[in-house]
Amino acid sequence: MIDPGAVVQFENVGLRYGEAGAASPPGEVLSDVSFALPAGAFRFLIGASGAGKTSLLRLLFLARRPNRGVIRLFGEDAVTLPRARLPALRRRIGVVFQDFRLVEHLSAGDNVALPLRVAGLGEAEIARSVTEMLGWVGLADRADARPATLSGGEQQRVAIARAVAARPELLVADEPTGNVDPDMAERLIQLFDALNRGGTTVVVATHDLHLLRRVPQARVMRLERGRLVDPAHPLATTAA
């Protein structure tokens, strides 16, 4: 059933990589995944390694299409949407990759500018937004630094600044605190919290259950062996 108020809606989604995998039905890394995210929702996606978190996120940020089921993003059927219309949908989604994916030969500022350049903004507007975003993540003085000269936490913050620079309606983050110390992890989660309070729908995949209580309005989606066993669990009852 279509939920018109949902930013994201999955219905019986199944995903298979080649013929590998041990999930059920045979070969699927995601099976019968159904959930809906209303605008402004904050979800932590948790589960053991190999449970399918990254696969689910890849479906969310349109890196793949599912083998079965329905995915609606911003009201569009992302499964049957013509390939030529995917870029417009992707521009409404910000992604923080687990491995940052910063372009090594570009400065921190140019990395943050990428989605703005993709969107076709003018250089003056790009410069203003980049300065604002880098200041927001506390890296205003590192705009000219190459990623290789930044610490892991700084790289992660550049990646976050890039993900939110174009003011996406949906932010997807894959283990954004996996490579940083606990203090930095808390600061990063506070950034996501601030974004969410500004109206952005946020999905964060994480192993770090201690972070969950830092965002009181968040709910938890739990994946077990490719199946979503808890699509919107309140944090109050989640072990932390």
């Binding site: 940020f61 349109l62 890196a63 793949r64 299409r65 390939r83 030529a84 995917l86 870029p87 417009a88 949908l89 992707r90 521009r91 992604v95 994916r101 372009v103 090594e104 030969h105 570009l106 140019d110 500018a113 990428l114 989605p115 350049r117 993709v118 969107a119 076709g120 903004l121 250089e123 790009i126």
Partner: protein, 290 residues
Amino acid sequence: MIGKGPAGARVLDGAGGGAAMAAVSAATLFLTVLAAAAGLAALNASARVDRRLAGRLGIQLVDGDPVARDRGAAAVVAALRAVPGVERARAVPRAELEQLLRPWLGRDAGGLPVPALVEVELADPAAAGPARAAALRAAPAARIDPQARWMAPVSRLMHGVAGLAGVLVAVAAGATLAAVALAVRGGLDRHRTTVELLHLLGCTDRQLARLFRRRVGRDALIGGSLGGAAAMLTAWMLGGRFAGLGSDLIGGGGLSSGDWLVLALLPPAFAGAAALAAGRAVLARLARTL
């Protein structure tokens, strides 16, 4: 915007490959421009020969009596000079004829009955018919040879050289475009993570193709301009050497300012073709991704 402006174009920096593209372009454009210069020079030489010979007739008067022979030659010259469109008509002096025949007949050819020869230059090739008629009226036994006829094989050879140069230019163009296709394939592999990232950020195929078009076009233009300039310098130096030979045929194969302009336009034309080929190759490759 990605693909427009220097900041957007920097996205594809850092993974190398540009120097190889520039080097391939330099080598192919050196050969292409040199082949084109040779072809244009051959065409010019051929055209010059055609032009000069189209307006020339050689008239022979064969007569055993030297007095009658010389009188006939004088009559032919007088008749021809009265024909409109005849620029010059002269009986070749006997000493000059002997000089011409000396390589074949030796120094003692003075006693042989050598025909009288009348050289005719026409201001207008259309005057050939009236000139021929006038010569035959003055000396019905005269043999009239359009010089273009015996130089026709040379002219055909020069056209053949020009055609071969054209084929070489086409082959070089094909080789350049094939090199571009390979370079783009390598570039897409080298930049795979960046291309995937840009896709996920919402970059369209056309934006990515524009990035590669700019990059390949720039590298091809830099390399091609260097190779083309080296070839033009070589052609200019060789042209000077050929002109110094004093040969009417070879010396006539110089390049006009229009020819130099054509040669100078080859590198940017090739760079444009390379950029277009790169864009098409990128679009074809990306069409196979999500």
